[in-house]
Symmetry: none
Subunit: 212 residues, 4 copies
DNA sequence: AATGAATGAGAATTCATTCAT
DNA sequence: GATGAATGAATTCTCATTCAT
């Protein structure tokens, strides 16, 4: 009656992960706006006030999801694409890790990502992540170029990297929508597009608009 | 009292366009869920029931926006990339038209597009549009390849096209977020990425994953 | 361009009947509140303002329906149950006319009636009709009683008549819900209940509550 | 500050009853469509969302009212008309209980009932209740008939029962509209009508339509 | 006589969020 | 640490009704 109520009094850290798991699941399947805090609390097997107590506002909760999933992804990529590998090897491993992650977390990241893109309040968060990615890719390219004794303007580099990242994201979307598709194969395809283009770039080939 | 008519009681066709204009504006700035029908009606300078009477549900209204903007964009691209031009010329003109359109309709398309991606109910609509685009691009590539006496599997072709479209969309997003950026220049950059990659492809170069 | 527009400019009386027909149909199928003026105008093949011009408010329109159908029914019954017939003959003919009418107008009266019962604003209208009916029935009974040299208090008479009318309405409801049922047979059954009871009454039999 | 608790934060069961009470009151006085959820919430002294949380949709709420009142009434009748009593005694007690209930719940049942009859979505619910009643009455009659060694076709029995129930409902309506009327007396009157008719039936008297 | 255009007002329903226990 | 109870504030959508032509 008084003693220790041996319920499920879990330590905060554990509860938080449970909640995030549930939130990612629900947000993914239903979208940020369509998902309700009730749903999430239910899915987490916990009462709403707890969600608020631990993770704050719906918006904050979403950001927390975004960040957890984001860093997991970055970690997966970074872990695979060690900086001391040759450029093509790094790119390949990075892509494989990326698509592998998306394939394994279809529910999680790809859709969260899709959500985040559309909802204004998360643009910043997302832009930050993408920027980190773009920087990594741009870094790879730059490194490779310098190795060949060549150099390209920073903006150009960035735009190319941006395009590659964009293409990858697009294929990731596609992958998320095609559960039967093979992440590895998708990575290979992306690598083909990316590498062939990048390779040209490395060789100094450029296309110029015809004079009007 | 006599002068200019005070803009009341306009014919349906006119009002519908006004409403669509307003809706595109509001949805763009606020997002599908955040935008309210009240807001849109206000922005259109008309009462809510008229919006419902002419364009239906909020969802239907959004689809109407999507379709109007979508076909405008397709028209712009199709008008620019005449099928009888050489492949690189077509690609270039198509890209220029695309980025030109996005640049001129930052408010409209790019953001609508961004919205549509995230909201489940519009996935189909959007997928349809993207598919049309992918097909056009894949067609270009195929045409060019055959001209060189080469051929590539349909899926591979599609994925490459998909990646190119994805990259373009990404840059379009970027463009929409950078009002100072120059559409033409962005098109040139995209063309570089796309063409260099495609060119390789045309030559038959391929990248293969190293054996595990 | 100017001459007489030979459209469907129908005389008012005709239009009004068209509208009432449509209104009865729609109200029947959808209920007073659920039916919309739009629906009714559509069903009548006419524009809403015309409905308002000719038949007024929704409520007034409903009353008009009620009255038209009500007098048709009363006419049918009165036409059948001539006052110079013997009491049982009158009752039988009256019932047959009543159930015949309901059977033929399932859509119209029975449901309108059902509607009217529930909606406060029409209670008066309906009560008036029912009262007329109750009076007729009470008259029949009284006439028959007097013929036998007996007499019954006015209230008692009214209540009995009320009960008979109620029972008939109930069976009418049942009939309206069972399209396959035979009106004539239903009338016979009601006649059995009514006449047997009334006959007893005519003989002076009465039931008294046991002393508590 | 300390004294009587200010009636806040009541347990669910209590609140639900409060809400049902309020809903019955409001629906009765205003009708299903005319009543607004706001009104009901107000009448219950609680906020709208609680009503939705506990009792669901307006329609569901109405059904809940219908059921609560319906079972109360059935309980009252069943409690009074014990199955081991002789037929006339049972009928009399049942009727007395019925009219007593209606008299005491004018606000509640009679009007709810009146509402339910008219609104399509509740037809089923109501038909179910009425069927239970009809079965009880038919059972009584059948029992009495068999006791006299007689038997009547099931349909005939049902129709007679239906008519009796209909007559009672009609008188109940009348009672609900005449607050000054005495339930007991009304029951007596109904008993007269019912019993006299039934008694005839028991004796085997029948009325036949004259040959056309 | 007839109608397309237009709206004020209101209704149901949902949600993020917070007390009181 | 944990929750059932509670609500203010929106939001979508519908409708009866009326002008202006």
């Amino acid at each position: 009656m008084s003693g220790t109520p041996t319920f499920k009094r879990l330590p905060r850290a554990v509860r938080e992960q449970q909640m995030l798991d549930a939130a990612v699941r629900v947000f993914s399947r239903r979208g940020f706006h369509t998902a309700s805090m009730d749903e999430i609390a239910d899915a987490a097997g916990i009462s709403k006030p707890m969600v608020y107590a631990y993770l704050g506002t719906k918006e904050e909760l979403f950001v927390a999801c975004l960040q957890r999933e984001g860093s997991r992804m970055m970690a997966a990529i970074a872990g695979a694409a060690a900086p001391d590998l040759p450029a093509d090897e790094r790119l390949w491993r990075g892509l494989r890790a990326f698509f592998g992650f998306v394939g394994a977390h279809r529910d999680g990241w790809a859709v969260l990502y899709r959500q985040a893109r559309g909802e204004r309040p998360f643009a910043a968060e997302l832009a930050a992540m993408r920027t980190r990615l773009v920087e990594v890719v741009a870094g790879m390219l730059d490194h490779a170029l310098r190795a060949k004794g060549r150099e390209v303007g920073a903006t150009d580099l960035e735009v190319v990297a941006y395009a590659l990242v964009g293409a990858s994201e697009s294929l990731a979307d596609w992958l998320a929508d095609h559960p039967e598709a093979d992440p590895e194969k998708t990575a290979t395809r992306m690598m083909n597009v990316a590498w062939l283009g990048a390779d040209q770039l490395l060789r100094g080939a450029t296309w110029h608009p015809p004079e009007a």
